[in-house]
């Protein structure tokens, strides 16, 4: 074993460090389309103190450190672009505490979405968190780190908006608490009324520290859930439909999808409306409000509610929605990737036209999905293309299509979500120069040796 391997083994135990070819191969890549780059070491720590020691070692030896949750962002954020140590967080997967009345939970930095869902259902059946549609192995910390969204995003904003506190190992190795927990035993606020320092970490993809604990808001879990789908073939009306729906404040979540198959779906925009209630009366009241809000579109024959077959409802109501993952195998090849810029809902029509244009230009299977964020404050529009890993030409066409999406998204006022390194560079180039300099100052001051997930958010 090399000196570094020995040092890492002393920290995490010999069984949880590897520099074997098999781990280096696997951890060099994510399920997306970006080129791999091998780490030098992979470690699977169990405590924040172990991570602290790893980071201090990395600082001494000037070795990069790349934290990894489930690696499902698909945009290469966990690919160790300059080698170094990949820190797989998934062994830190405990729920540390729930404050039922104050509706928040504290979890370790590798806790999966699935584990928290299961834990709450079993122990706190009146509470829930905002579950994304990424697979259940996706971690809470990585999801808030990338400003992920979930089933409660339409009501409460990005999942990162729901953070109530953080524990972070800084690039210098200190274990730092962010929010009310920095001076109180309680994790009720990540900032207010203090300066909100969570912005030094959220959205930085691990370039400013490793999240080892997350406090997260929980919300009432109603006894019943249901879903309706409003369909229109006029993409230009989707923003108005969303405006009316969000005005009701009656929905749990709103997602709009479009896809070419089956054929009866082609050209249509499926506004999927999730509703909850503690009683049938509550649910029916909400449904009536929703239907009334869209009555004008039905009267003008611009849309209508499709009959959702009972057999289809469990698929739609599933959390996380496993059917989303199945999109990866449409081409029998285990792959899909999407670019999901955050932008105004009024951009929906042009996004959907662009998606169809690109799928036609590059001959690709596609799916469009808009997740409404807040009361129509913005949306994530996913330009998603499926591909076959055994077909390099198809993979290349998807890369080209996504590259065009990146340019297009910026042109129409969008901001990249979980940006690839290339997109980060594009964003930094267009960014207000004072903002860019501020980011540079933050990064240089927090991580003077440049060891934390290098390549990401690097201002030249």
């Amino acid at each position: 074993m090399s000196d570094i391997t020995l040092s890492l083994a002393e920290i995490v135990g010999e069984d949880y460090v590897s520099n074997r070819a098999e781990e280096l191969y696997f951890y060099a890549r994510d399920p997306g389309l970006l080129p791999p780059h091998e780490p030098d070491y992979v470690v699977v720590p169990q405590t924040a103190e172990e991570i602290q020691k790893i980071v201090r070692l990395a600082n001494r030896e000037k070795i990069p450190v790349v934290p990894m949750g489930a690696g499902l962002a698909l945009t290469g954020l966990i690919i160790p672009l300059k080698g170094g140590i990949v820190v797989d967080m998934k062994r830190m997967n405990k729920v540390l505490g729930v404050h039922e009345k104050a509706r928040h939970v504290i979890v370790e930095g590798g806790t999966s979405q699935g584990l928290l869902k299961s834990y709450l259902e079993k122990n706190y059946p009146r509470l829930r968190h905002s579950i994304p549609d990424s697979p259940s192995t996706a971690t809470i910390a990585a999801n808030v780190m990338i400003h992920g969204q979930g089933r409660l995003t339409q009501q409460y904003g990005f999942n990162s908006d729901m953070v109530t506190g953080l524990e972070v190992v800084l690039p210098s190795g200190e274990i730092c608490k962010i929010g009310s927990c920095s001076l109180s035993p309680d994790w009720f606020s990540r900032g207010a009324p203090l300066p909100d320092l969570s912005g030094l970490f959220l959205g930085w993809f691990g370039a400013t520290g490793i999240i080892t604990k997350v406090g997260l808001r929980l919300y009432p879990r109603k006894k019943m859930r249901d879903v309706d789908i409003f369909v229109t073939d006029r993409e230009d009306l989707v923003p108005d439909i969303i405006y009316e729906l969000t005005h009701t404040e009656m929905t749990e979540d709103i997602v709009v999808f479009s896809q070419p198959l089956p054929l009866i779906f082609k050209g249509n925009h499926h506004v999927t409306i999730f509703m909850t209630g503690d009683t049938e009366e509550e649910l029916e009241f909400k449904r009536k409000m929703v239907w009334d809000a869209l009555d004008g579109f039905m009267k003008s024959k611009d849309g209508g509610f499709m009959w959702v077959q009972p057999a289809m409802k469990p698929t739609l109501l599933d959390m996380p929605q496993r059917s989303v993952t199945r999109f990866a195998d449409v081409k029998k090849g285990g792959g899909f990737e999407y670019s999901g810029p955050i932008l105004l809902v009024e951009r929906y029509p042009e996004c959907t036209r662009k998606l169809e244009e690109l799928s036609s230009k590059y001959n690709l299977g596609y799916s469009g999905m808009a997740r409404i964020i807040g009361r129509g404050h913005c949306m994530m529009y996913g330009f998603a293309f499926t591909f076959n890993r055994a077909d390099p030409d198809m993979m290349d066409r998807v890369r080209k299509a996504l590259h065009e999406v990146s340019d297009y998204a910026l042109d129409i006022g969008g901001v990249f979500w979980k940006a690839t390194v290339e997109e980060q560079k594009m964003a930094l180039e267009r960014m207000d120069p004072h903002t860019r300099n501020l980011m540079k100052m933050i990064k240089q001051n927090m991580d003077p040796n440049g060891i934390m997930n290098p390549g990401n958010w690097e201002v030249a």
Binding site: Y25, V44, G114, T325, D329
Partner: protein, 384 residues
């Protein structure tokens, strides 16, 4: 390689690692090693890399492939249409390594022992029937059922007790059966799982020929592994027999009071063996027996039935120990799960599981708190 057409189709979504409610990681090798490379998805990506010559056949690669317990949790929980073939794919990759002659020494030794001795313990075939000494069991001679014991039940000291309990209870219930004695040889289930398809075929053909020669139509197995081989694999080789796990025979007999039982007060949790449960969907018969014993209270572990956590002995690991020991070894995790129920007894219906969990109980120093008993042994305690 067989199943090569699906090897590139894994998305690394990770559903394969979980229980259906996501409450815990349920892949024994991932739970033990915690590197993605030891998960079903990791194996798929590495097999593809190996086929593409991006990685070599190393000791680590072999450990990754052969530490799979073939428990089929991934088959149960993978969301893709190729899920049914995941274990088949891993077995096919093992077969490739076997064919190339580059496999872990414990796997090599196991296969050699089976080939030479007809059992993994290098014990003489003439000693095979010794387990039955002192029982009323007779040699098969046209009885309704053949009771097939298998290598573990025939030679392993702990498992021999289970075999005797099963034999005695079935005889007491009036089931017409006979044993092969020294003519019995390995069923080949683990040989197949370890990828030695030639040896498996040879064992299976030999067994099928013998069963046919003796006029066997119905087989009762002690071991779910043998049950799986006879039920799932032998028909493809011309061996069509009505095959039962012994719990499937006992359950109706006990429920109908054909075997009267006295009260036996105990709290019991049941561990589903993978080759009876997930591989063959038999979850109810063992539970019916336990629930029919007066005084027995059955308490389920959180991870039960389709979500049962494997003891780590499947896929040949019972013999090769490639999954290895330690605090996070699957058998120790499983006994801790059993302990959480508050039960006094872990009931099993597989001699391999019994051994794995016995060992784990000792390692966890739980012998005083948690007893590992086969269902037939519990029934024996309740016999008047």
């Amino acid at each position: 390689m067989k199943y090569e057409d699906i090897v590139h189709r894994c998305f690394r979504c990770g559903y394969c690692k979980f229980t259906s409610d996501y409450s815990d990681f349920n892949c024994p090798s991932y739970r033990k090693f915690f590197f993605e490379s030891y998960s079903p998805g990791g194996r798929m990506w590495l097999i593809q890399a190996w086929l593409n010559d991006e990685i070599k056949n190393s000791e680590r690669f072999q450990e990754i492939l052969f530490s799979c317990a073939t428990c089929a949790n991934c088959v149960e929980h993978c969301v893709f249409t190729f899920s049914d073939d995941l274990v088949n794919l891993f077995t096919a990759a093992r077969e490739e390594l076997v064919n190339k002659g580059v496999i872990p020494p414990p796997v090599r030794d196991y296969l050699k022992n089976i080939n030479i001795s007809g059992n993994p313990y290098k014990e003489p075939a003439d000693d095979r029937e010794k387990w039955a000494e002192g029982t009323p069991l007779e040699t098969y001679d046209g009885q309704e059922h053949l009771l097939y014991i298998g290598c573990v039940g025939s030679y392993d000291e702990r498992a021999k007790k289970i075999a005797r309990a099963v034999g005695n209870v079935l005889i007491r219930a009036g089931v017409s059966l006979g044993i092969l004695g020294n003519r019995e040889t390995c069923d080949g289930n683990e040989v197949r799982a370890l990828g030695e398809m030639g040896l498996f075929r040879s064992l299976a053909e030999r067994n099928i020929a013998l069963f046919k020669e003796l006029g066997v139509e119905k087989i009762i197995t002690l071991d779910p592994h043998a049950f799986n081989a006879f039920k799932q694999e032998y028909p493809g080789l011309g061996g069509e027999f009505k095959t039962y796990h012994y719990t499937q025979i006992l359950a109706p007999l006990i429920q109908s009071n054909t075997i009267p039982l006295k009260e036996y007060k105990a709290t019991v949790t049941y561990h589903d063996p993978c080759y009876l449960g997930r591989h063959n969907s038999e979850y109810d018969s063992p539970r019916k027996i336990l629930k029919s014993i007066p005084g027995v209270e059955l308490i389920e572990m959180d991870q039960n039935r389709e979500n049962a956590f494997c003891c780590g002995g499947g896929g040949g690991n019972f013999f090769t120990d490639i999954l290895g020991g330690g605090e996070e070894s699957p058998n120790r995790v499983r006994v801790r799960q059993a302990l959480d129920t508050g039960a006094q007894i872990i009931a099993v219906s597989c001699p391999q599981c019994a051994n794995m969990l016995d060992d784990a109980g000792k390692a966890e120093e739980l012998e005083e708190k948690l007893e590992v008993l086969d269902i037939a042994e519990i029934v024996t305690r309740a016999l008047p």
